[in-house]
């Protein structure tokens, strides 16, 4: 039995369907990313898991208990929003104590201990008396995280926790959040539209598109075996071309350029070359007008004498080819 079971959740707003028969399981202690383009229903799903929104049909089962209509206040989770939603009239410490004060079982000293502990965990001990506006984006993010874990919740929900930050801070915080999550062993569901974030941070990924789940699996299995052309295209990059009534897909790095006289699978006309330093990206057109691209070591590209209009011969190893039926449009 999984820790958290999402069963056939459907959610409609006035005009549109935000979630259509969505199901997934989440195991205890793992970090799962809900990944998908903006507007696909990720936040809605997260809010339903939190009890902040009610589904039209379907069930949420937590720890074997049907929690579908349990109010948020009784579900014992921590949440971090994209906006962080820090109370601007309270200091970092007050933000964290605000929730702790609700626990009647804790003494004042216990509360302060607990707050200090989580602040140490997110490395904010020097900023406890600052107001949110005095903090950098990354510090605000960590304050929100500290507040969310201070009540020792049984699971943690993160809605695009890093998307408001600049690239450098984001990369660092990915590691920090993952480390904290591991050390607490807390079940975590994180929403993101950033495939790199999902690939690097999660134990498993739930890929969503247009209100439905496209695929669930480990980052590796999703990358290697994308179940649908959408997943193939959304995670990493993918070349698509027609072959015998089917759509063939292969990752650019799996294509091997060869000399004209060697055995090859694909012949294409070079459309453009893009020198990127160590690698050169080659854009090419297949006879059926499908466009593909390959990244080749620059020296190798020179050796092959590639230029605009030249012919490019490629080997597409069968084990890396993925076939989709022609109906499944990209």
């Amino acid at each position: 039995m999984s820790f958290l079971e999402i069963k056939n959740i459907t959610k409609r707003f006035d005009k549109q369907t935000a979630l259509s028969n969505v199901s997934a399981n989440i195991e205890k202690g793992e970090l799962v990313c809900i990944l998908g383009p903006s507007g696909c229903g990720k936040t809605t799903l997260l809010r339903i898991i939190a009890g902040l929104e009610n589904a039209n049909s379907g069930k949420i089962i937590i720890d074997g208990k049907d929690c579908t209509s349990l109010p948020a206040s009784e579900r014992n989770f921590g949440i971090v929003f994209q906006s962080y939603a820090l109370f601007p009239n309270m200091t970092v410490l007050q933000n964290i104590l605000f929730g702790l004060q609700q626990k009647k079982s804790l003494s004042k000293a216990d509360m302060l201990d607990k707050a200090t502990e989580v602040l140490r965990l997110v490395d904010l001990t020097e900023h406890t008396n600052k107001y949110p506006r005095q903090l950098s984006g990354g510090q605000q993010q960590r304050t929100a995280l500290a507040r969310a874990i201070a009540l020792s919740p049984s699971y943690l929900l993160l809605d695009e926790p890093l998307s408001a930050l600049d690239a450098k801070v984001r990369a660092r915080l990915r590691g920090e959040i993952r480390a904290i999550q591991r050390s607490l062993g807390i079940t975590t569901i994180m929403v993101t539209h950033d495939q790199e974030e999902a690939l690097t941070m999660s134990d498993r990924i739930i890929v969503m598109n247009n209100a439905v789940v496209e695929q669930v699996g480990t980052p590796r299995s999703i990358y290697d075996n994308p179940a649908t052309p959408f997943v193939a295209n959304f995670i990493g990059s993918m070349n698509f071309y027609k072959s015998g009534g089917e759509i063939c897909a292969i990752r650019p790095e799996k294509l091997i350029p060869v000399e004209r006289h060697e055995a090859y699978d694909i012949a294409a006309a070079v459309k453009a070359l893009e020198f990127k330093g160590a690698l050169t990206r080659i854009y090419a057109v297949l006879p059926e007008m499908d466009e593909i691209y390959v990244d080749i070591i620059s020296d190798r590209a020179d050796a092959l004498g590639l230029h605009e209009g030249a012919l490019l011969f490629l080997k597409a190893p069968a084990e890396y080819q993925i076939k989709y039926s022609a109906k499944a449009a990209v």
Partner: protein, 563 residues
């Protein structure tokens, strides 16, 4: 037992019953105060003296009596003329303050707001000192024939000018500098720029201001009461029918007529609001006002003349209040501030303060919680929609209509709330309702600016709603709360129209006392009382400005400290 209690507890939390109950309670209370009296009003209009159904007989009687129905044309006449003057002057004044480099903008702005701080009866009293039979200007040889149409029109212009000015000021303050730069680069003349860019930008505000002013003038009671003479208008007719002849049914007929422009204005406002909201552009740049000595000088002269008019009016009140017996004995005296007890005495001023503080305290709390319920609850969308609809309706209710419909509803032996009739409670209630819509918009605007996830986070931490409201929402909305408090206080201090039907002989208030003083010929005491009201309102306004400055200062300090 404990088991049952547990189940009940769980059920109530699962379906957010406490929230539902509070929301329902607020809707019911507000709906009852808003709608039940109106039903009483309309049912009275269709009944005869003995309570039998009369159909349209009352209306027929009204329209067949030229002495009565002439008031309709008179009211339209004065409203139309005063509105045109008011809208044009207010537009120019606001334009000068927003689109020129004129000196002393802040001063001009506050002077333009003076009329808001005094009852309309006092505008009229000021005019009597200037243009009345013994008026300062009349004695200098210029008799404008104040009493009747002329006087009412001037008085209504003074009354509606600040309202229109504030609307235009807000609308003209925001301008997309890019449009003007582009137009100038294309060689389009300033006059053409005004007609092609500025005017289209604010055209909805112009329409809205027109209707707002028209409605205010249409239903005003204070000015025609003092200056009307034989020139009858609807507001004074209602008063005569109800307070003079005790003809409740005819009063109800006139009251329902008074509602017509207000309802039209209300509909126009709705349409305009929906069209106006789309014009704000995040990419807009600030308009840089070009140097122009000629333009600035012209506007300076214009603004000075308008401001002088208001200042002279206030000066006339000072002159009347501080002299023994104008114009015969011009010695300085404080004795006009010793008010005769027969007309209400100084007690009426204290009563006004009491009523205004109560209106501000309870009104602010009610509006804010009401707006909070409509804005920050997640569930019960249909109920919250009804709540929002209710909130805008008071805008369409002239004070006089609220006044008489409250009499019909509460002064009824079968009404369990009958006991509040004749007490301060009914006055406070009518004020809260009368001035509800603007504070509601203020509160909603402030609440919309707060992160919608504050409540979600608090909920995840199992913090009760009321605690989040008190510790987070209220402190963050403090400037808006103060603004609402001030708005309610100032309006309660100056209002006449609703309360003129509702005060009781042992709880007279200042604005009513003024009308009695004026009736009794104690015009200098009326002026003195008017000045007291002006004084207290200005003090409250200053306190408000200081409080807002302190809040801003503290917030800034929070941002600066350490780092």
């Amino acid at each position: 037992m404990v088991f049952m209690k547990n189940i009940l507890n769980r059920l109530s939390r699962r379906f957010s019953l406490p929230q539902l109950f509070v929301l329902l309670a607020f809707l019911l209370v507000f709906g009852a105060i808003l709608i039940c009296p109106l039903i009483s009003l309309f049912s009275k209009a269709f009944l005869d003296k003995y309570g039998n159904y009369a159909g349209l007989a009352n209306y027929q009687k009204y329209f067949n009596n030229p002495n009565l129905s002439i008031s309709i044309w008179n009211t339209i006449d004065i409203s139309l003329v005063s509105t045109v003057f008011s809208v044009v002057l207010a537009f120019l004044f606001a334009y000068a303050l927003t689109r020129s480099n004129l000196k002393g903008k802040t001063l001009f702005k506050y002077i333009a707001m003076i009329p808001i701080f005094i009852p309309t009866i006092i505008h009229a009293v000021g005019l009597v000192y200037l243009f009345g039979k013994q008026g300062v200007i009349t004695r200098m040889g210029w008799d404008i024939g104040l009493y009747g149409r002329t006087g009412i029109i001037i008085s209504e212009v003074i009354f509606t000018f600040p309202q229109a000015f504030l609307m235009f000021f807000v609308a003209l303050e925001y301008a997309d500098g890019r449009l003007y730069d582009a137009a100038e680069a294309m060689g389009i003349s300033p006059v053409k720029r005004f007609f092609r860019i500025t005017l289209p930008d604010v055209k909805y505000t112009v329409i809205n201001a027109f209707f707002v002013c028209f409605t205010l003038a249409f239903a005003d009671f204070g000015a025609p009461k003092v200056l009307g003479g034989n020139y009858n208008v609807l507001a004074t007719d209602i008063y005569k029918q109800i307070a003079g002849q005790f003809n409740m049914n005819m009063g109800a007929v006139v009251g329902s007529l008074l509602l017509i422009p207000a309802v039209i204005s209300f509909i126009v406002d709705r349409i305009v609001r929906s069209k106006n909201s789309s014009t704000l552009n995040a990419k807009a740049t600030k308009l840089v006002i070009k140097k122009s000595f000629k333009r600035d000088s012209l506007f300076f002269v214009f603004c000075t003349v308008i401001s002088l008019c208001f200042l002279v009016l206030v000066a006339a009140l000072f002159m009347g209040a501080l002299t023994e017996y104008y114009p015969y004995k011009m010695d300085f005296t404080w004795k006009n501030f010793e008010f005769n007890n027969s007309t209400g005495g100084i007690g009426s001023f204290y009563h006004s303060l009491e009523m205004s503080v109560a209106t501000a305290v309870f009104g602010t709390a009610f509006v804010f919680i009401y707006a909070y319920l409509c804005e920050k609850i997640r569930k019960f969308g249909a109920l919250r929609k009804i709540g929002k609809l209710f909130s805008v309706l008071p805008m369409a209710l002239p004070g006089m209509v609220i006044g008489i419909s409250f009499i019909f509803f509460f002064n009824n032996k079968h009404n369990p709330l009958n006991f509040i009739y004749g007490t301060i409670i009914i006055l406070v209630l009518s004020n809260i309702l009368h001035y509800f819509s603007v504070p509601f918009i203020t509160a909603t605007g402030a609440l919309k600016k707060l992160d919608a996830e504050f409540e979600s986070v608090a909920e995840s931490m199992n913090i009760p709603r009321w605690k989040t409201l008190l510790r987070v929402t209220v402190p963050l909305s403090l400037p808006a709360i103060l603004e609402i408090f001030m708005y309610y206080f100032v309006n309660a201090m100056v209002t006449v129209s609703a309360v003129v039907f509702l005060y009781s002989a042992n709880f007279r208030i200042a604005s009513i006392a003024i009308s009695h003083m004026e009736e009794a010929g104690n015009i200098s005491q009326a002026a003195a009382m008017g000045l007291l009201i002006l004084l207290i309102n200005v003090i409250v306004r200053i306190l408000y400005e200081i409080a807002v400055k302190i809040i801003q200062f503290k917030r800034k300090k929070k941002e600066e400290r350490t780092i």
